[in-house]
């Protein structure tokens, strides 16, 4: 038993200050990302979330250039980007892709500029790597504190508007008719998204932040029957990915003889991807079973047509399914 334990948790794992930091930052980021991610997937704004990751990268690179903490850059420019996307027209479906694309393009341009100056003037080659692929093991304690405060603010904002936000996601018309300030609620969500993506950039890197935002949320939404449960499952899946990722990255130092270790971001994103695939299995199995009879989703989609042609038959099928 002891042998198995030491094989899984390589020597020094629990005593390492770096591991403590990684687990604290990673756990916080996993929860904030999962909660924001559920609303992002429901609202169909994954592309916006990804674009904000690129904006974060530009912010982090800029902060590095002028000697600020990267988290200030990640979150600061992310908030500016979210505001810009809202102003250009993230609310209208047609305007949304346009706004996202414009902001994303400008952000990548800025990143290129900032990173050019950074690499030209600074000898610390690791910093670019940290902006793009995260620095979960080497976060300073000041940064951890800032991350905790920002994460708490983002979660509190989402908790405050969760019901109006959900109602305006299901139907902006009903929400507006009932007196919900749809635009304000949407803007608040965008700001929470910017903070969440900024924190995720800190942990696993600006380029990979989308994975932690969308992956656990999308997987949770596949297997749960209510938004509340989706939030819980998304948090658990996010924590699993980060915890296991940190463990594997730590252990990987002892794999083989080169003692290079593998990047933690790779493990986290890999685990997120695998859990997403696994949560698709029940639905795939149902669809497989259904194809021999009548696929449930197909029955729903064609119910009107069927009911039109043979009213009783279509309805009977519908009832049997529900």
């Amino acid at each position: 038993m002891h042998h198995v334990f030491t094989a899984v948790f390589e020597p020094g794992f629990f005593g390492s200050a770096q591991v403590h930091t990684a687990v604290a930052v990673g756990g916080l980021v996993a929860i904030v990302s999962a909660v924001t991610g559920v609303f992002t997937v429901l609202r169909g704004q994954s592309f916006g979330g990804h674009a904000l990751g690129d904006v974060s990268a530009a912010g982090g690179a800029g902060a590095l250039l002028i000697g600020l903490s990267p988290v200030a850059g990640f979150v600061g420019l992310g908030i500016v980007g979210a505001g810009a996307m809202d102003m250009i027209g993230v609310r209208r479906l047609r305007g949304r892709d346009l706004a996202t694309g414009i902001v994303l393009g400008s952000a990548i341009g800025l990143s290129a500029l900032f990173l050019h100056f950074t690499t030209a003037t600074s000898a610390t080659t690791g910093s670019v790597q940290q902006i793009l692929f995260g620095s979960i093991f080497v976060t300073s304690s000041d940064t951890v504190l800032a991350a905790v405060v920002l994460g708490a603010v983002a979660l509190a904002s989402l908790a405050a508007v969760c019901r109006p936000l959900l109602l305006s996601t299901v139907s902006p018309e009903i929400a507006a008719a009932r007196g919900v300030p749809v635009r304000l609620v949407g803007l608040l969500y965008m700001l929470a998204l910017a903070v969440s993506v900024g924190l995720s950039s800190l942990a696993i890197g600006a380029v990979l932040s989308t994975a932690l935002l969308i992956g656990p949320a999308a997987a949770a939404l596949r297997v749960t029957t209510s938004v509340a449960w989706a939030l819980v499952v998304a948090c658990l899946l996010g924590l699993l990915a980060v915890g296991l990722g940190v463990l594997l990255a730590y252990d990987s130092y002892y794999w083989g003889s080169s003692h290079l270790g593998l990047p933690v971001s790779f493990f986290i994103v890999g685990i997120v991807f695998v859990t997403y695939l696994l949560t698709g299995l029940p639905a795939a199995a149902r669809a497989g079973a259904g194809s021999r009879g009548t696929a449930p989703t197909l029955a729903a989609a064609e119910n009107d047509k069927i009911a039109c042609m043979s009213a009783t038959g279509g309805h009977r099928r519908q009832r049997a399914r529900t």
Partner: protein, 280 residues
């Protein structure tokens, strides 16, 4: 055409005009609806039905005129609304009962705490629209008719006195449409709610419709169905000759006279067959 048939109307629309980007959408529209009345808002596509509903909801500003609900302006809480396009994605883990619960407290801030009272109210509403069977199914997986019933329950749970529905029969098969209409007529009668339902086709509504607001070219004629759906009133409304034909218990509204001399030939913008023409 104004008719002040109610001293204590639930909805009063008085002289409402709306112009959008220079085009006159509604022109001096007036009508009232009383408690328990089922009113059809009938008119061709583009007649201004959705705009009128948006004005009543306070989502669209009118250039002139007033809207009162229970005698007061801006009485949002007294209105239940089922919009035309609610895209319910099967990927959303939102059950029928969740959607109805959002109707109850979707405007409140803060985290929702478990409430026996709310759960009970949701159950009652699902029962009222006969949706208990699929209460725990994802709304995105329900048929069009079932989704309409859930949306109606969502609108009713806030105990409105006025229920607005924008083209609820569009995209429904005939049988589901009939079920929705019967349900709404029963709710209007039992709970004394004023129902205003827009449709471009009036025949399915004829058995239950107490009154009609007929919109054409931005102008409205309103009153009891039999008094409004006549050749004289509709001809005046459209501004050219309209023939109202009664065929096998259904109403056909046709441009031109019955002899086949089409007024539409002289007026190219006039549709040959007007709303309510298609047999229900």
């Amino acid at each position: 055409m104004t008719d002040q048939h109610h001293a204590a109307a639930i909805l009063g629309v008085e002289g409402v005009s709306v112009a959008l980007s220079g085009r006159q959408i509604l022109d001096d529209v007036s009508f009232t609806i009383g408690p328990g009345e089922f009113t059809g808002l009938i008119g061709p596509n583009g007649a201004g039905k959705t705009t009128l509903l948006r004005v009543i909801l306070g989502l669209q500003r009118a250039a002139s005129g007033t809207v009162t609900v229970l005698g007061k302006p801006r009485l949002r809480d007294a209105i239940g609304y089922v919009p035309q396009k609610v895209v319910l994605d099967p990927d959303m883990p939102i059950r029928a009962r969740d959607l109805v619960a959002l109707g109850a407290d979707g405007t409140r801030y803060g985290i929702r705490l478990p409430s026996w009272q709310r759960a009970q109210a949701v159950r009652e509403m699902l029962h009222a629209v006969d949706a208990e069977r699929f209460a725990d199914a994802r709304v995105g997986n329900l048929s069009g008719g079932e989704q309409q019933r859930v949306l109606i329950a969502q609108a009713l749970i806030s105990r409105p006195r006025l229920l607005l529905l924008d083209e609820p029969l569009a995209n429904l098969d005939l049988r589901s449409g009939q079920e929705v209409i019967t349900l709404l007529a029963r709710i209007a009668r039992e709970q004394q709610i004023a129902v205003l339902l827009s449709a471009h086709e009036m025949n399915p509504l004829l058995p239950v419709m107490d009154r009609v607001v007929y919109l054409a070219a931005g102008r409205a004629a309103s009153g009891p169905t039999a008094e409004v759906i006549t050749s004289e009133v509709l001809s005046k409304l459209y501004g050219y000759h309209i023939e109202v034909l009664h065929v096998a218990g259904r109403v056909l509204v046709v441009a031109g006279d019955a002899a086949g001399e089409q007024a539409s030939a002289a007026l190219p913008q006039a549709p040959a067959v007007l709303p309510a023409a298609g047999a229900g």
